[in-house]
């Protein structure tokens, strides 16, 4: 795909995220919208995967640690052909494979069960270690939130991957600076995050998490690093694409259409406004209509 096609795809995914969350009536908005570009780049450009063969042993593995951003995972998987887009509206509904937090045994193509924070990187590191024992060639990617760096389990995994030089492991951090009750640096500071990873023997790359070229280049650079694991700190805007959600931690754990929030559009308007803004892709698309 061209960069422009990827950007358009990410925008389609954002629209579906809004629609899914509106139908679900609960969940998280800011993180999924913020990570739509990274997920699009991964599923449409970077990962060596085949939706027709989800169990293909040589596939790249994507371990989502911050399970609460599941809507962006589901929407991207649907667009990539793992299951019909029509299934997205079953998010969080009884009997759906699209559980509130992803479950490996409930939906084909999900690599692991996650939600409780801080446990994804260790699983990815274990996976990468085991794969390297067998000489497997695929790569393991782990997507983490920034706030889950407040969990001890995460740093245990950072130490492990650094000690064992897991160069087949790439961690992508969604550095959006918010968490459910405020800003990360107020709740429990994470900076200097790059230095912390470097101290644990990781290769560190910082990028604009909405710039497709930077995302793809960073992963390619990570592939070339052969003696240590790589972390890509993707600076993202929470709620990206919807102006009243951007940078606003109130939308971390809220969804459009569920409640009137002080200072925000009335609940009946929230999804409509969000979708209208997303249709134009920040002004880049002038003529598309729903």
């Amino acid at each position: 795909m061209t960069i422009e096609e990827l950007e358009k795809k990410a925008n389609e995914i954002r629209k579906d995220i809004i629609k899914m969350l509106l139908a679900a009536g609960s969940g998280h908005s800011a993180g999924p919208l913020g990570m739509a570009d990274v997920f699009t780049a991964l599923y449409f450009e970077i990962l060596n995967i085949d939706p027709k063969k989800p169990d293909w042993p040589e596939r790249d593995r994507l371990i989502l640690s911050s399970g609460h951003i599941a809507p962006v995972l589901y929407a991207t998987m649907a667009h990539r052909g793992f299951f019909p887009i029509s299934k997205l509206k079953t998010l969080r509904k009884l009997g759906s494979g699209l559980q509130g937090h992803p479950e490996r045994t409930k939906l084909i193509g999900i690599e692991t069960t996650s939600g409780p924070l801080g446990s994804g990187l260790a699983q990815a590191a274990g996976y990468a270690y085991a794969a390297r024992m067998d000489g497997a060639r695929f790569r393991v990617f782990c997507l983490t939130s920034d706030a889950e760096h407040q969990e001890g389990n995460h740093w245990e995994a950072v130490a492990f991957a650094g000690k064992y030089n897991l160069s087949n492991l790439t961690c992508i951090v969604d550095r959006n600076n918010i968490q459910i009750s405020g800003h990360t640096e107020d709740i429990m500071p994470l900076e200097p995050l790059e230095d912390k990873y470097k101290a644990f023997n990781w290769h560190v790359i910082g990028i604009d998490g909405h710039n497709m070229e930077e995302i793809i280049d960073a992963v390619n650079q990570a592939r070339a690093v052969y003696e240590k694991p790589t972390v890509i700190i993707a600076h993202t805007i929470p709620g990206k694409g919807v102006d009243f959600m951007e940078y606003d931690f109130k939308w971390h754990g809220a969804v459009p259409g569920a409640a009137d929030i002080p200072g925000e559009p009335p609940k009946a308007e929230q999804a409509k406004i969000a979708l209208a803004q997303l249709r134009t892709l920040g002004g880049k698309i002038k003529s598309e209509h729903e």
Binding site: E103, T112, P116, S119, Q123, Y127, A130, G152, A157, F160
Partner: protein, 331 residues
């Protein structure tokens, strides 16, 4: 009398019976399982010596992974390895694993349904001098409550080896519980063992009470049965090594045969083996019961035997419990 088909050690009641910690059986079982299946890997949180994982490391250094004092990572790294296709055994003390990493085990192993084997060593009161912090007495209860989890507490070193080898093949999340102390090796290589199936070690003609036990205290239960026989009280001693899935039919049968049950475990009475047996009987065949185990209390420092005395887990305490339950039996 001893059930012949259980093929227990012929020296079972002799003074010089061999004493070996059942965690040694874990180490030997790891080596045997590793020889049978190259997918078996062992992770340790800085406790390879005392968990006997060192035996596996010596034989298969390339399949032994040291993770440091990091039990949450121990569980979650293993979850990733099992997800890939390995059969990881994770070794630590029960107080820390599954004590500290219970949520990680719940989410990334049990709910994820990947075949990680959690080995909790130094479980129970008999860690002794280390004191209450290290005397894990809640592990059977917290692991039994977890869907998808198999829970096994072997009675001696030989059974521990068999349990370890079988766990390597069962394809399921499994908790194996071991103790620190040397305890009698009273089974034999030929003693039948199957996860999920009890073995009746003592079977009198007309038993009035069923003693259902797990772990090394099964030996205390046998000592009690022998004494009770002298007093004319006939009993069954059931080695219920698998607390989950519980061999419900065998337990209901034993209750119907005897009409009285005593459970014996080195775990909190709350939610442990006793709780599991009570749940089954309350629903299927309500039976008077007595419970040997920790009575909603923490332990303390002391010699292992002193602690078993103080907290009433010795054969004489089992005998007293039998008398109590027989007194409650409706005639």
């Amino acid at each position: 009398m001893i059930n012949k088909s259980s093929r227990l050690n012929s020296k079972i009641f002799e003074k010089d019976i061999e004493m070996v910690a059942n965690r040694q059986g874990y180490g030997e079982g790891l080596v045997a399982a590793g020889e049978k299946d190259e997918k078996v890997v062992v992770l340790s949180a800085d406790l390879k010596e005392s968990t006997r994982s060192i035996l596996f490391e010596e034989r298969f250094p390339e399949r032994y992974i040291e993770v440091g004092v990091a039990e949450q990572a121990l569980a979650t790294l293993a979850a990733g390895m099992a997800n890939y296709g390995k059969i990881p055994f994770i070794s630590s003390y029960a107080a820390f694993s599954p004590g500290r990493n219970w949520e990680q085990i719940r989410t990334t192993i049990a709910l994820n349904d990947v075949p990680v084997k959690i080995a909790g060593a130094h479980a129970g009161l008999t860690v002794g001098p280390d004191g209450a912090t290290h005397q894990m007495l809640e592990d059977i209860s917290i692991m039994r409550a977890m869907p998808n989890m198999i829970v096994v507490n072997p009675c001696d070193c030989l059974e521990a080896k068999k349990a370890t080898m079988e766990a390597a093949k069962n394809g399921k999340p499994t908790y194996l519980r071991f103790a620190r102390e040397k305890t009698p090796v009273f089974t034999s290589d030929d003693t039948p063992f199957k996860i999920g199936r009890v073995e009746t070690f003592w079977e009198s003609k007309d038993p009035q009470v069923a003693i259902i036990a797990c772990g090394p205290l099964v030996y205390e239960a046998l000592l009690a049965a022998k004494e009770l026989e002298k007093k004319g009280i006939e009993s069954l001693v059931i080695n219920c090594h698998t607390i989950k899935p519980l061999d419900e039919q065998a337990i209901i049968r034993a209750a119907k045969t005897t009409g009285a049950v005593v459970t014996v475990e080195e775990n909190q009475i709350t939610g442990g083996l006793g709780g599991a047996v009570a749940e089954v009987l309350a629903k299927n065949f309500p039976t008077p019961m007595e419970f040997i185990g920790m009575p909603d209390s923490f332990g303390e420092s002391g010699a292992p035997d002193e602690l078993l005395e103080k907290y009433k887990m010795k054969s004489k305490d089992i005998i007293e419990a039998v008398k109590r339950v027989l007194g409650r039996k409706s005639s």
